[in-house]
């Protein structure tokens, strides 16, 4: 089988959400010496992008997106040992650190945003839910992300978003990272009030906002 056919098969298996087949095909590709970067770009990412398109067309639904993203993530993990960090870095549109703020146990919306960002070629570091301010600060220092995404579902916890932005200012990190906020009670006005750089209503919007923010950065 030529490499191209094999890579197309991987992409198709991702679109079909056939995790078993993706896994087998990726293993086969590695075995015959296909460049892991190519497996990601021409196989997994291509498939994931197609899933995103199908979603936008209304043919796929959120569960399809989530399952495809999971297949994608799993296989990337498997390929990571074969990649040099330099290679991965140049291939992403940017790095996004994301998490649900302290006191908030909801992470559905945040997960969707993370998935849409990965589908669109960003490297996403997800800190999960109930994330204390100190951990956000620590991880920003460690990963040096381009964008920080803060999610809050409850009107009580959205206050935390403000605290985190303040903590960024206090630790001199504010100018190094763009901050986007989201969650059910969060509004454009709130984002402005607390000095965030962007706000998105939903996961698709979030991708546009992040792309825009990084354009301005250049």
């Amino acid at each position: 089988m030529s490499n191209l056919i094999l890579l197309n098969k991987i992409a198709k298996a991702v679109v079909d959400l056939n995790d078993k087949e993706v896994k087998e095909l990726v293993e086969e590709a590695l075995k015959i010496g296909v460049n892991p970067i190519e497996i990601i770009e021409e196989g997994l990412s291509k498939g994931l992008k197609e899933v995103g398109l199908l979603y936008e067309k209304g043919e796929y639904y959120i569960p399809h997106l989530m399952i495809a993203a999971e297949i994608f993530k799993e296989n990337i993990e498997k390929l990571k040992p074969f990649l040099s960090t330099k290679e991965t870095k140049s291939k992403t549109l940017g790095k996004v650190l994301i998490g649900t703020v302290k006191g908030d146990l909801h992470d559905l919306g945040k997960n969707l945003v993370a998935i849409m960002l990965s589908i669109n070629g960003f490297e996403v570091i997800d800190l999960g839910k109930d994330v204390p301010t100190e951990l956000f600060i620590e991880k920003i220092k460690e990963h040096n992300p381009d964008v920080l995404g803060l999610s809050a579902l409850m009107s009580t916890t959205m206050y935390e978003q403000k605290n985190i932005i303040k903590a960024l200012e206090d630790s001199g990190l504010r100018s190094k990272v763009k901050v986007i906020v989201g969650g059910a009670p969060v509004t454009k006005e709130w984002a402005e009030e607390i000095g965030a750089d962007g706000y998105a209503e939903n996961a698709i919007e979030a991708v546009k906002i992040v792309k825009n923010l990084l354009k301005k950065n250049d």
Binding site: L105, G109, S155, T156, Y159, P185, T187, N202
Partner: protein, 485 residues
């Protein structure tokens, strides 16, 4: 009401059979026994531990056995009376009594003049509470708007403050913070002369976080409500397919487990603490990732878990009468109507939701006035058919005989107000010519006019000055507390 008794269920609409209820009940127990539920709150874990429950402090998981659940349900009161601000009995939460109140905690209001949404202010909530007080079929207030002109951190108590100052009807509310609840109880004690535990005038919503979790704040709110003997409404909000199984039955099982865990905690903190079996579940829209409150399946889940609450002999609550439409239009009308009617047929005691559009995020005064009318119709519907000798009216029919008329008979005069729901100006029943002469207004235009008229004619029902002074002091103190921090 008896506990664990199918004869409690006299609902006209029964989406679950006796066997379904048994299966759901035993499945929920299995989950609480085997998997347990997480309480992200040290005090809750301590309370469970001290009362002999299996607690994993590291994972914050409590396992609750069947016996404890049974005991809690038996202890919890079957009937809760909620009073109004004047100390008069207002809501009798038991059996199939149905009471409506507006949807709560909207972050937006649909501006009646501009038709745009905007952030609500304290003034909006004041107007809203005056409107609610004057609507016949909206039986309770709710802290319906999150006001934007006070610091967010005190907005939970500030909402209650505004309503207590201006309106009489009982209140459905909730705290956003741990100490917010204590301040709110202080305020309620001012208004009830220190009798909030005997004559409650407010119900507090406490919401678990699906799946199978309680946050630090809501666990504490639940514990504190039980200590104060203030009615708490447990509001689990599983989302089918997202934070609960996509199947309706699976979602109801999870809802049951989450609600029962709350009942157990409240009853071990304080036996007989008033607890309402509520919820705000929804399905999850697989296309947009939204949580439609007007979806028929959302309404089906509500009408089903309420039957489980009835089986347990507990007062029930649900979020119905909301719409996902962004404006007040036909969608807003039909989605809300389906919920209002089916909720009434199920006999849910507290139905929260009228006025709300845009899922659970925007209140509309004109929609509230329209929904009020639907609530009136629903209440007429559940009053049912009255078939007696007098209403059958055989003698009358024979007396009037062929070709006669009934308009001038005493029987008509005596019965028409009892039998017929008399609509307000919301509903148009004019003949076309008269309607054309009357400016050809549609329902929404009529609703706006009614809102304006009610707000013009009704003044706030102010609290006694000394009590108001005391409320001011509590609010000022809580602002000061945060400033000092």
């Amino acid at each position: 009401m008896n506990k664990f008794d199918f004869s409690n269920i006299k609902s006209k609409l029964q989406l679950l059979t006796k066997e379904d209820i048994e299966k759901i009940h035993s499945s929920a127990i299995k989950i609480l026994e085997k998997t347990g539920i997480m309480f992200d709150n040290k005090e809750a874990l301590k309370i469970f531990n001290e009362n002999g429950f299996e607690v994993n402090f590291e994972k914050k998981i409590v396992k609750i056995n069947e016996e404890a659940i049974k005991e809690a349900i038996i202890k919890a009161p079957s009937k809760i009376i909620i009073y109004d601000r004047n100390g008069k009995e207002a809501l009798f939460l038991e059996e199939n009594n149905v009471y409506y109140n507006p949807g709560s905690a909207a972050i937006n209001i649909l501006d009646i003049e501009t038709n745009n949404i905007r952030k609500p202010t304290s003034k909006d909530l004041e107007k809203f509470s005056i409107l609610v007080d004057s609507l016949s079929y909206i039986h309770a207030q709710s802290t319906a708007l999150i006001v934007s002109d006070v610091p967010k951190i005190i907005s939970d108590r500030y909402r209650l403050y505004i309503i207590l100052k201006n309106a009489i009807k009982p209140i459905i509310t909730g705290a956003f913070t741990i100490d917010g609840l204590h301040d709110m109880i202080r305020m309620l004690n001012v208004v009830t002369d220190g009798k909030v535990h005997e004559k409650p005038i407010a119900i507090f919503d406490v919401c678990p976080s699906p799946p199978l979790m309680w946050s630090e704040i809501t666990s504490q709110n639940l514990i504190d409500c039980a200590r104060y003997m203030v009615p708490a409404e447990i509001v689990p909000m599983p989302l089918s397919g997202a934070t609960s199984p996509v199947t309706l039955a699976g979602t109801i099982v999870q809802h049951t487990a989450e609600a029962l865990s709350g009942v157990v905690l409240s009853q071990i903190v304080n036996p007989k603490a008033p607890i309402i079996y509520g919820g705000s579940p929804a399905i999850f829209d697989m296309r947009y990732g939204t949580t439609p409150m007007g979806a028929i399946e959302t309404i089906m889940i509500d009408c089903s878990y309420s039957l489980i609450g009835k089986y347990y002999g507990l007062p029930t609550h649900a979020y119905l009468g909301l719409s996902d439409s962004k404006i007040v239009d036909i969608q807003a009308g039909f989605e809300s109507t389906i919920g209002i009617i089916l909720g009434a047929l199920t006999g849910i005691n507290v139905i929260s939701g009228p006025g709300m559009i845009d899922f659970e995020s925007c209140q509309s005064m004109e929609k509230l006035v329209i929904d009020n009318e639907v609530c009136g119709m629903a209440l007429r519907l559940i009053k049912g058919m009255n078939v007696t000798e007098d209403t059958l009216a055989i003698e009358l029919i024979e007396k009037i005989g062929p070709g006669g008329q009934f308009l001038t008979s005493k029987h008509t005069l005596e019965w028409f107000k009892k039998e017929l729901f008399i609509p307000s100006g919301i509903i148009d029943r004019l003949e076309r010519k008269a309607w054309i002469e009357k400016n050809q207004k549609d329902c929404i235009q009529r609703a706006k006019e009614i809102v304006r008229k009610i707000l013009e004619e009704n003044k706030p029902k102010r609290l006694e000055p000394e009590k108001e002074e005391e409320l001011n002091r509590i609010i000022k103190n809580s602002i000061k507390r945060y400033e000092d921090k």
